[in-house]
Amino acid sequence: MSEEQKENGKEPAANTPEKPEAGASTQPAEKAPAAKPAAPAAAAKPAAEAAPPPPPPAGEFGKALEGAGIPVSHLGPDAEGIERIDIAPADLLRAGEFLRDQSQFDLLLSCSGIDWKDRLESVYHLYSTKTHKSLAIKVTAVDEHSPSLMPVWPAADWHERESYDLLGIKYDGHPNLTRILMPIDWLGHPLRKDYKVNDPRLVWNER
């Protein structure tokens, strides 16, 4: 991971804003890393303020995937320095197999669903017990459907069920996609941003 950080250190230090106020914009989080160039760069070229932000730097694993012919959009590292990539749902399984076999990612840590109001997104965090590196894969669901990563990492089983339960992302190819944390007859998906907490239909204990 340190290598990666060094490499990214040459780019504008945009991934971690210098001051808490520097990046306090209201845009979605994954656009934030590239949103503000570092302070010295901005001071040198004030005219560049209006120009579109530079594309996030390509990371080690994103480049390897591109080398294997799998289209990837780079999102740059997150605040902790973990490389993030965005993969289209159609390429996910192919990319997963490549990362497992070639890049030695043997451990799927978690699958987190995020409701961005206009789209649903699954974020898979991978870890390698051999190289000790981490990677985050983001997949945007199409019509609430997203391919399951269970054929590649069986550890995704319960994590995808949880994501389905709480956010309603339907994982195609999952053998047992049922609710896991909420009661089996619960209505709706609680972590959606438009979920109504006080809906009278949801008073479960009084039925």
Partner: protein, 431 residues
């Protein structure tokens, strides 16, 4: 058909007679039927509220399905309606046996997003408290695991030391179990004066106490009979289910984030990662016992190396500086020429208003090595005072999912040994 032999041990003697009642006896012996048993949700040995829908054939487990969610308190939804600081006390209840770790990943993810500076003294205080918390967590596991196997006395021994550590925690945080001590870029208060010496004296006695436990348990023939060779889980199985922590290290893989991806100041500390060999229940026990000894070593080194030393020392230094500035002012010199106290000696990096604190937009996935495995917090901030999304990766969640694989084909009495050895805590599973 059942064959009756004259000898004592099955087929030693000669065949005397055969019994054959159609429908009851089969070629293999007595006909048995599958029986579905619900173990839990309220069961003394499930360490929380867990239901295991188990299909038994005789004493052999044919199928098992864990049903979780009985303790779901919607921690991730709660983050949407609370400010960052208001959400923090609820984390103590996610995993109440080692809550310092939950606080650490939460606070550290915000520190990463906001790029807050954390003084070195704070890092050391965090390491000391986390390692002591690891000992209390393993001690509770030690007591309850053996209680599941039928031994009552180890629990009392384990709770004796656990209570001593809780008294030390009470001095620092004001609470025995629900600490809420870490803050963004610091800790709530500095260590009380004299605490370091008190802690050092206590920690020196712990390895002897662990010797005492091991004298009762490690070579105990009943424990050996019930644990050696039971619940084997190889490295591939661990990866298939995402199992981490001592259960993974019992397979012989030295995967410990403190060593492989050091956080805080673990790279300055000299310690070893205990690993097992046979990946069975007994090895998981040995790994945890060895980890407690390593934690003692880490704490002793931290107490020696903590910047500033005892709190009284820092207070004296502060008073000296103030005195010198007063004298300089009287003399008509510039009081600001006298240097301030070393920033690494402070217990709070930068003064922030906690109630209205908001980090900039960004995201971070922080992991740390909790007593149960890799604990992760995925924080997505959109620049408002409330978190956009907080996702918890509890180690117990993945560690529990391997249970059916380990149990199918095994005997029912081994359930408590195998389930106990995974050290699952249900509040962390359900969140």
């Amino acid at each position: 058909m059942i064959r009756v032999w004259s000898g004592m041990n099955g087929k030693d003697g000669e065949l005397m007679t055969t019994i054959d009642i159609p429908g009851v006896h089969t070629e293999q012996g007595l006909k048995t039927e599958d029986l579905v048993v619900n173990i839990g949700p309220q069961h003394p040995s499930t360490h929380g509220v867990l239901r295991l829908v188990t299909t038994l054939n005789g004493e052999v487990v044919k199928d098992m399905e864990p049903v979780i969610g009985y303790l779901h308190r919607s921690k991730e939804k709660m983050a949407e309606s609370r400010s960052y600081f208001q959400y923090q006390p609820t984390l103590d209840r996610v995993e109440y046996l080692s809550s310092f770790f939950d606080h650490y990943v939460y606070v550290a993810s915000i520190e990463k997003i906001a790029n807050l500076k954390v003084p070195k003294r704070v890092q050391y205080i965090r390491m000391i408290t986390m390692e002591m918390n690891r000992i209390t967590s393993h001690l509770l596991w030690f007591g309850t695991f053996l209680l599941d196997l039928g031994a009552t006395s180890p629990l009392f021994y384990a709770f004796r030391e656990r209570e001593d550590i809780f008294k030390l925690f009470e001095d620092v945080t004001g609470a025995r179990m629900m600490y809420n001590y870490y803050r963004f870029g610091g800790v709530n208060a500095d260590l009380p004066p004299g605490w370091i010496e008190k802690c050092r004296q206590f920690i020196r006695t712990v390895p002897q106490k662990i010797d005492e436990y091991e004298a009762i348990v490690t070579k105990n023939p009943i424990v050996l009979d019930r644990t050696v060779g039971i619940g084997r889980m190889d490295y591939e199985t661990c990866m298939r289910y995402g199992v981490t922590g001592p259960s993974l290290r019992a397979t012989g893989i030295a995967q410990d984030l403190r060593k492989t991806n050091p956080y805080c100041c673990y790279d300055e500390i000299d310690f070893e990662v205990p690993v097992g060999k046979h990946a069975d229940v007994y090895d998981r026990y040995l790994v945890r016992m060895a980890e407690m000894r390593e934690s003692c070593k880490i704490i002793e080194q931290c107490l020696d190396r903590i910047p500033g030393g005892d709190t009284q020392n820092i207070r004296n230094k502060q008073a000296e500086i103030e005195e010198a500035r007063k004298i300089a002012k009287e003399k008509g010199e510039d009081p600001k020429a006298i240097p301030d106290i070393d920033p690494d000696w402070q217990y709070q990096g930068q003064k922030i208003n906690l109630m209205t604190y908001k980090p900039p937009a960004g995201e971070a996935f922080m992991t740390c090595e909790s007593p149960r495995g890799m604990l992760g917090c995925y924080m997505v901030s959109d620049g408002t005072p409330k978190a956009y999304r907080v996702k918890w990766r509890g180690a117990s969640f993945s560690n529990l999912s391997v249970l059916p694989e380990l149990m199918i084909g095994n005997l029912y009495p081994d359930l408590m040994a195998i389930f106990g050895s995974l050290d699952v805590i249900l509040p962390e599973v359900d969140r």
